[in-house]
Symmetry: C2
Subunit: 210 residues, 2 copies
DNA sequence: CAACAAATTAATCATTTGATTAAATCAATT
DNA sequence: AATTGATTTAATCAAATGATTAATTTGTTG
């Protein structure tokens, strides 16, 4: 076998081409509906090369899935563990960061939702979100805000579900929203941009409600 | 051909058995990952009977999908067009109705999201949500509440996205939430039950925020 | 019961699809 | 140029899969 670094340029070029094609097709259609031939065509390579570089459709998928999941979730985990930011600041950063990210890659949320359904265990146990979350700065700050009477609902899961839901749900329901309202893509995205300002205001109001 | 009513009992029995099995498997795995043999096994019938009664996997799927979609969406459309209820009452009814419904059939939201991705046009154009929505009582009530200064954000789409998102998102993200928090199903459902009371309070607070 | 249509089954088909193989090409090294 | 190993291709395989067919069973009607 050739050592990777001796032919790195070419390796990266072909291997990366396949990976990018796979990402695109998997994002759009999901694992079950994706044909390895679709990926090969999208990448402009011979079908056998896919198996040459990645052994199987499943293996290739797992690479894409793991990269996507960790990129998407670790993002928020890091922000939630920032000691230097207030709870309020965390909210605005998460909202703004996620909305921008999802507008760039709009298929990711639905991709994650769809594929985790088929295999909840495998993928979730790879990522140590459980421990990281339980000891997060966010949880401590939330707890304190509850103690100080600034937040009514004591369960931080509601806070998180609401925050992420308000951000992500419109993208997941995008086809329904666009179809049901007649909005075009540009108008939809403008609506999402508005939410960068609106969601933090809403969250603040919700959490104080009783 | 025998007329349907002459052998109705048996027809319904077998045909319905297949449909119920199809619903179950499609809900769980989605169209692409479902094998007609899975459905046949689940229904306890011979594979050929599926095609005998429904002509093809696609046709059978479309029946299930249409029933599911209209059941799920028409539900809210009707509530939104009730002249006799206030905006506030509409919120509590939608929240309560949907959460109960989804706890009974937890795979529906993800099923809809997944399958509309593969075919946004076909299915949405079958349902006349566009017209019904634009002229809904809800829209008028919302408009009035904005004029009266009771609601800050004038776009009713934000209202709807927030309401439905707060209800539905936790179910869509259920595997992630349960995996990330360690909650068991029963605890998760209790959390959802809490939200029947919480969401209306939150919505009210959000809509008045500025 | 005879006759006929409907319902059901077992067997099979044709395609699709993920994967492999063997040969060909390319690129670097001597 | 010859050698060697990595990369790429065309052809093909075997299994899976949606669908059909032909025969059998069941049920109804005259």
């Amino acid at each position: 076998m050739a050592k990777k670094n001796e032919t790195k340029k070419l390796d990266i070029s072909t291997e990366a081409k396949i990976k990018e094609a796979a990402r695109k097709v998997f994002y759009k259609k999901g694992f079950a509906a994706t044909r390895t031939r679709d990926i090969a065509d999208e990448a402009g390579i011979n079908l056998a090369l896919l198996n040459y570089y990645f052994r199987s459709k499943q293996k290739l998928f797992e690479i894409i899935m793991l990269e996507t999941l960790s990129g998407f979730i670790q993002n928020v985990v890091i922000l939630l563990n920032d000691e230097k930011t207030t709870l309020e600041k965390k909210v605005t950063e998460i909202v703004s960061g996620y909305i921008d990210l999802i507008i760039l890659e709009p298929e990711i949320p639905t991709f994650i939702v769809t594929e985790i359904r088929s295999n909840p265990n495998l993928l979730l146990e790879q990522l140590p979100i459980k421990n990281v979350m339980a000891n997060s700065i966010f949880f401590k700050q939330h707890q304190k805000a509850v103690a100080d009477g600034l937040i009514t609902e004591p369960n931080p899961l509601h806070f998180l579900m609401n925050l992420i839901g308000l951000i992500v749900f419109p993208f997941i329901a995008k086809p329904l929203i666009m179809g049901g309202s007649g909005l075009k893509l540009k108008a939809f995205n403008e609506l999402m941009q508005q939410r960068k300002n609106l969601i933090p205001i809403w969250i603040k109001a919700m959490m104080r409600a009783k």
